[in-house]
């Protein structure tokens, strides 16, 4: 059994949601279908369904986040769960034992699900191995490793605009090295059958052996986005940069920043995405970010539906349970 299998039960259903790596096309599609079903709930007058009534969900955030935490919180509330928000200052404590202690305390409070964000890669996996059976763990971003709900909301947004994954050309641009989003994104796109995935970045911002994930590497923006359907810009993660990986932000923008002029190389109906928060004038020009090809705000709305989907999937499942009818 590989490490990632801990997110599946013996019938291949989602028990935790830790990574998009190694998930079958069928399961990835199922997550998108669930999200499509939940998307309608946000448009109703009473934006709430009773699926997770009586369940307690803990937002366990060891690293600052506004958008991700609030959309997880909204998703949980729209499923009628009770939500506890915990912001733990990770820098003040040494990982291992204190994390375990925090967890045991929360378990004693009989919580049903932990949404975990941590600056160490593997933190969510670590917690998933510790929790009692029946308790679900969802990875809300761990170090440089994975951010699976962000990846799924991105592919959900892509499917809404361009449903034929096999023929898609997708470019991921910018700080690939520090980006857990990029990794999860590549696994999700490849898993869903996208053949043409490109990463575009200066060599200093590319992880070693990125080609082994099945992507093509480009170091010039116009060349990389030539004829693509989707341009996914990443945030330049200044807070994660140690040492001189870049000459200057200004130069980064001149070479890799997405402007309307450079975007002409992509298909005429290409969509522009960004996981946020945006550094305007660093990786993307405001006119593009706010332009009619930008789907950045749709990504935020879709984040709620995706998070409702994975919460419902990990909770609505008992070992040996029968299949639900439509």
């Amino acid at each position: 059994m590989t490490a990632d299998n801990i997110q599946l039960d013996d019938q291949g259903r989602l028990k935790h949601f830790l990574s998009t790596e190694g998930l079958s096309r069928q399961l990835l599609t199922e997550i998108l279908d669930y999200a499509e079903s939940f998307a309608g709930v946000s448009g109703r007058a009473v934006k709430k369904v009773p699926l997770l009534r009586g369940r307690t969900i803990v937002n366990l955030f060891f690293e600052a986040s506004t958008r991700t935490r609030t959309t997880f919180e909204l998703a949980a509330k729209r499923l009628s769960a009770d939500v506890l928000n915990l912001n733990v200052d990770a820098s003040a404590t040494s990982k291992g034992e204190s994390l375990q202690d925090t967890l045991h305390n929360l378990e004693a409070m009989h919580c049903d699900m932990f949404i975990v964000r941590h600056n160490n890669s593997g933190a969510a996996h670590f917690i998933a191995r510790q929790v009692a059976p029946g308790v679900a763990v969802i990875n809300a971003g761990d170090g440089r490793h994975a951010h699976p709900t962000q990846a799924m909301l991105d592919v959900f947004t892509i499917r809404r605009h361009k449903p034929d994954f096999e023929s898609l050309k997708v470019a991921i641009v910018g700080d690939i090295m520090h980006s857990r989003v990029a990794r999860s994104e590549i696994h999700a796109l490849k898993g869903l059958g996208v053949n043409d995935v490109r990463v575009i970045a200066p060599r200093t911002l590319l992880p070693a052996a990125i080609e082994t994930l099945g992507v093509q590497v480009h170091d010039r923006l116009e060349e990389g986005i030539d004829g693509v359907d989707v341009v996914m810009m990443l945030r330049l993660q200044r807070e994660r940069m140690h040492g001189a990986l870049l000459p200057s932000e200004n130069e980064f923008f001149n070479t890799y920043g997405l402007t309307e002029k450079k975007l002409r190389a992509a298909k005429a109906d290409a969509i522009v995405m960004h996981p946020g928060p945006i550094n305007r004038g660093v990786e993307i020009d405001s006119r593009v970010a706010d332009g009619n090809r930008s789907v950045i705000l749709q990504q935020v709305s879709h984040g709620i539906a995706i998070r409702m989907a994975v919460m419902a999937m990990t909770m609505g499942r008992k070992p040996g349970g029968e299949e639900a009818e439509e």
């Binding site: 109703r44 009773p50 609505g316 349970g321 639900a324």
Partner: protein, 173 residues
């Protein structure tokens, strides 16, 4: 396996339409909102809607998010969205389903309807009533046919064209 064919179902529908007309006249409900429960209930609701030539558009309810067995069996990934094209608040509602069995589907449906507003009343119309297996205090106001069946017998409506009822027996008791 027993099949009840379209001809017989037509007769049940005629019975339902007559009872529903009487119900509406007795209660003085002029233009009720008809809501079918996905998917069989919607087909029956469409037939009643045609038979009574009602003005208001038909509502469709999908109770997948309201089922009380969610934590046991989960839900189907593709849920046809609920669509109520009229104001529920203050409205007389006729809820339509294919088979009334334990009553749990109807409870879930009523919970969902109340999330859209406070109806003046809710009446219930079903094609098949299985009165022996109720688990909640819910009865139909309009019934096409009552069937007394064993717990290991299951009724399923196939449709929409043609409508056919299938009664199967399982060994699980």
């Amino acid at each position: 396996m027993t099949t009840i064919d379209t001809g017989e179902i037509e007769q049940f529908l005629t019975t339902m339409a007559r009872q529903l007309e009487d119900y509406l006249v007795e209660r003085g409900f002029g233009d009720p909102g008809i809501i079918g429960i996905h998917s069989g209930g919607v087909w029956i609701a469409q037939a009643l809607h045609r038979a009574l030539a009602l003005e208001s558009p038909l509502g469709e309810l999908n109770i997948a998010f309201y089922r009380d067995d969610f934590s046991r069996i989960g839900m189907h990934p593709r849920v046809t969205p609920t669509n109520l094209p009229f104001e529920v608040e203050g409205r007389h509602i006729i809820l339509v389903d294919d088979v009334l069995y334990t009553g749990r589907t109807i409870r879930a449906a009523m919970n969902e309807i109340f999330d859209y507003g406070r109806p003046a009343s809710i009446g219930l119309a079903v094609l098949i009533d299985r009165p022996d297996a109720r688990e909640l205090p819910i009865q139909a106001d309009v019934t096409g046919k009552s069937l007394h069946l064993q717990p290991n017998e299951h009724v399923k409506l196939h449709g929409p064209e043609p409508l056919a009822l299938e009664i199967t027996t399982t060994n699980d008791g």
